[in-house]
């Protein structure tokens, strides 16, 4: 895990002291709201519909049990006993008091966390594969590179006021679990260095990133990124917020021309000044060792017996575990999508329970996934049943990972002041509609992603089924997109059929799913593959009630 050095500690402490003073001056009236708003946003504090919201960065989704316990403490002490894990692998608290914020930031700093650069037109938290360092299909661990980018981008003076926000994602595995093609810059680690994709993004004009360079060596990554950002910083559209993202620039110039300009800029840079020396990269890598694996002999027959005796465990084993680089371990996903609950929410007791589980069975490590779940990356197979039972006692054993009820949903109009429609209640209705576990398993892998407005925080463009909330003269309507995916075969979904009312959506999805079950070649053909084979049009009719 990353470790703050003395500079990091000093930087965060200085920023917290500064913000504490700014809060005091705001409360006394010395600062107006107009003066204060950009300052609080620089520290992750938004004002939403009901209250202040604090967004805390979880660097590339990596958390220690101690940090998770701090979240539990914040939820319990300063919020309404829960927090919301987000699609950017961060956490948001929805009911924070302005006056409490300096104290909360101090408590976060004590566990090497902060809310800096979680808002504003800067480089945001780099995201990555939640199974980094653990997955069997991984070529190289993306975390040290994400950490390198974090150190480079934090307080980078040239990139603090970019034309618009900037998001980078990295994957080191053959399966893309980090959605790199819908990020401003997506990095794919290969045996020959980095493949660099540029100009992806969602929002009102979604784009998939274009490959502009292959094989950037790790030791040259920062200078290449610096060149890529410089070109954007220079030519990005500052005159129009809707055209300010890099995706617009890249599509206006064309990826080849953009790549050429980056190359030109790169050649002019003093690369040695920017790139981390080999020893520094080695030092960062040393922060991410493999855990001290316990050699616990596991008895495959005992696991089979437990599965036979406890069908819930069997299902959880099937759906919530992923092959690990070591044969005697697996990665476990703790689903934060129990039936009928808001996707991504966890209570303080559940956060503590996840921290306890990490300490008892997961070497103290946790991850947040962009699917809004929490992961124990390394669990000995010998411990699985014990872990399952412990999670089950805390309402954390939902066995639906990757299934239709494992939805992404943004806060929507229940919290967000930009929203056009609610997202969470719709997710809850869908979750209740598909609560039957037998049915969910039969349907297989299917990703539903819901956003409450065109900003696309809920990734609706890349859901197998995407749902976009719109406002039609004061009523909430939902447009359904089909065919999107965020993996290595990334594709943007397309709006299919007419907008539906909230009440109509669950039944429409049921018709859609039934049609899929009818049309699929067999159970190995996933929903997204059937849509790919037959075309979206084949499914459009099912979305609407037969006349």
């Amino acid at each position: 895990m990353y470790q703050y050095d003395q500079f990091d500690h000093a930087m965060v402490a200085a920023r917290n002291a500064e913000f504490k003073d700014q809060v005091a001056r705001r409360l006394s009236g010395e600062l107006s709201e107009d003066q204060f708003k950009p300052l609080r946003l620089m520290n992750g504090l938004y004002l939403q519909l009901h209250a202040y919201m604090l967004r805390i960065a979880v660097p590339y989704g990596v958390l220690s049990s101690r940090q998770m316990r701090t979240f539990a403490h914040i939820a319990r002490t300063y919020d309404r006993d829960f927090g919301h894990f987000t699609t950017r692998q961060n956490i948001q608290f929805n009911w924070i008091k302005l006056a409490d914020t300096p104290q909360i930031l101090e408590e976060l700093a004590a566990v090497e966390m902060h809310a800096i650069q979680t808002s504003g037109n800067c480089i945001r938290n780099t995201t990555t594969d939640q199974f980094a360092g653990a997955a069997k299909d991984e070529l190289d661990d993306p975390r040290p590179w994400a950490e390198l980018i974090r150190q480079w981008s934090t307080f980078h003076p040239e990139f603090t006021f970019l034309p618009r926000k900037f998001k980078i994602a990295i994957t080191g595995a053959t399966r893309d679990r980090a959605a790199i093609r819908v990020h401003d810059i997506g990095l794919q680690l290969t045996a020959n260095g980095f493949d660099v994709y540029v100009g992806g993004g969602m929002g009102r004009t979604p784009h998939l990133g274009h490959l502009i360079k292959s094989g950037v060596p790790g030791e040259k990554l920062l200078s290449y990124l610096e060149a890529a950002l410089r070109v954007y910083n220079r030519y990005g559209r500052r005159d129009n917020i809707y055209k300010a993202r890099i995706k617009i620039l890249v599509s206006a110039l064309g990826p080849q021309e953009y790549a050429r300009q980056v190359e030109e800029e790169w050649a002019t840079l003093d690369q040695a000044q920017i790139d981390a020396p080999h020893a520094e990269i080695a030092r960062i890598k040393s922060f991410f060792p493999q855990p001290n694996y316990a050699d616990k002999a596991f008895d495959a027959a005992a696991i089979e017996r437990a599965k036979a005796a406890d069908p819930g465990f069997a299902r959880w084993m099937r759906n919530n575990t992923l092959a690990h680089r070591r044969d005697d371990h697996v990665s476990v996903t703790i689903s934060l999508k129990p039936t009928g609950m808001p996707p991504g929410d966890a209570s303080s007791a559940q956060m503590d329970a996840m921290a306890d589980a990490a300490d008892a069975f997961g070497y103290g490590e946790l991850r947040v996934s962009h699917e809004q779940n929490v992961i124990l990356p390394h669990v000995a197979k010998a411990d699985l049943y014990e872990l399952y039972r412990q999670l089950d006692q805390n309402g954390l054993s939902s066995a639906n990972v990757g299934k239709i009820t494992d939805m992404i949903a943004c806060p929507g109009l229940d919290y967000c002041s930009l929203a056009n429609a609610r997202a969470i209640p719709l997710a809850q209705d869908i979750s209740n509609r598909f609560a039957d576990e037998g049915l969910t398993d039969k349907i297989g892998d299917l990703q539903i992603k819901i956003s409450g407005c065109i900003n696309a925080c809920g990734h609706h463009h890349v859901g197998h089924i995407g749902i976009l909330g719109v406002d039609k003269q004061g009523e909430e309507f939902y447009q359904i997109l089909l065919g999107g995916r965020a993996d290595e075969k990334a594709a943007l979904g397309v709006i299919t059929g007419k907008g539906l009312s909230a009440e109509a959506v669950p039944a429409a999805l049921e018709r859609l799913v039934n049609l899929y079950l009818e049309l699929r070649t067999d159970e190995t053909e996933r929903f997204i593959d059937t849509v790919g084979r037959l075309g979206r049009e084949a499914f459009a009719g099912a979305l609407h009630e037969p006349a």
């Binding site: 705001r26 939403q48 009901h50 229940d414 919290y415 004061g474």
Partner: protein, 103 residues
């Protein structure tokens, strides 16, 4: 007919104007919000916009009649007046104020 609403500076919570000249004249319970005539609402809006150490984001909510929100803003204002509609939040506004939903 109108309501005046804002968020309290210190904790950000939603407030409704219920008469009086200081912050104690605002209520967290939308059911108790004063129904204002248009001119009164406009004057209070100007006054409270300037009182930034007390409230932020002051604005006027138009009503069709005493208990009916204008349709265009219905969902947003309903959510603001009643809290998130998602069941689980510790905020169960109605229970907190011992009443049913408003609007």
């Amino acid at each position: 007919m109108k309501l005046l609403t804002a968020n309290r500076l210190t904790d950000g919570l939603v407030l409704w104007y219920a008469g009086g000249s200081d912050l104690s004249g605002w209520t967290e319970d939308a059911a108790n919000a004063t129904r204002l005539e248009d001119e009164a609402a406009a004057a209070l809006l100007e006054e409270w916009k300037a009182r930034e150490t007390e409230v932020v984001g002051v604005y006027v909510v138009p009503l069709v009649d005493e208990n009916t929100l204008v349709k265009r803003e219905y969902v947003r204002e309903h959510v603001r007046a009643n809290g998130p509609t998602i069941g689980q939040t510790a905020l169960d506004t109605a229970r907190q104020h011992q009443r049913g939903e408003v609007f």
